[in-house]
Amino acid sequence: LAKTTQPISMDSYEGQEVNITCSHNNIATNDYITWYQQFPSQGPRFIIQGYKTKVTNEVASLFIPADRKSSTLSLPRVSLSDTAVYYCLVSSSGSARQLTFGSGTQLTVLP
């Protein structure tokens, strides 16, 4: 199973772009990379998913280099409400879907 490594915490200010990087050195060929957001006292919520290069949706962008050993979640112009824990997840292939979360990154957006 591919393990992930993320920074424990990050601080930012309102209006700034935030980039959170996740390392997954032993990612398998068929694995996808998914990011989740979790607010206090709530379950995690899907943000974005990708396999390679760049993916963008209304919430974020996901950058994945050619070797796929890392990925970067980019949040444009963050607001106070973006303060949350962000998890990087690498999905394993096959029937045994033991989806493993990393430790997450606590993002704190300051006014």
Partner: protein, 116 residues
């Protein structure tokens, strides 16, 4: 729109007692999961089920059991609770399709369990 429903929301339990956390989904997802979340340790997978009738062990299965009698329900049982099982428990489901690797998990709101 219910999605994933967990019960109870919170519970205080004496050590040694049996406890079942309930999880029900109405999305007809084939896969379901139980995670525990502890401060500083993120989310750790306890058990999972790829489809009704099958279950598998996750990262921290000891002291827990699950069953998947049908598609919608995936209860988690602590046969004899211990204080180290004090945690927030999240149930999740996903529609894994036919061998697809793109997986989006849908989580419940969590069950906070305190074992004294």
């Amino acid at each position: 729109i219910a999605g994933i429903t967990q019960a109870p929301t919170s519970q205080i339990l004496a050590a040694g007692r049996r406890m079942t956390l309930r999880c029900t989904q109405d999305m007809r997802h084939n896969a379901m999961y139980w995670y525990r979340q502890d401060l500083g340790l993120g989310l750790r997978l306890i058990h999972y089920s790829n489809t009704a009738g099958t279950t598998g062990k996750g990262e921290v299965p000891d002291g827990y059991s699950v069953s998947r009698a049908n598609t919608d329900d995936f209860p988690l049982t602590l046969a004899s609770a211990v204080p180290s099982q004090t945690s927030v428990y999240f149930c999740a489901s996903s529609d894994t399709g036919t061998g697809a690797n793109t997986v989006e998990l849908f989580f419940g709101e969590g069950s906070r369990l305190t074992v004294l």
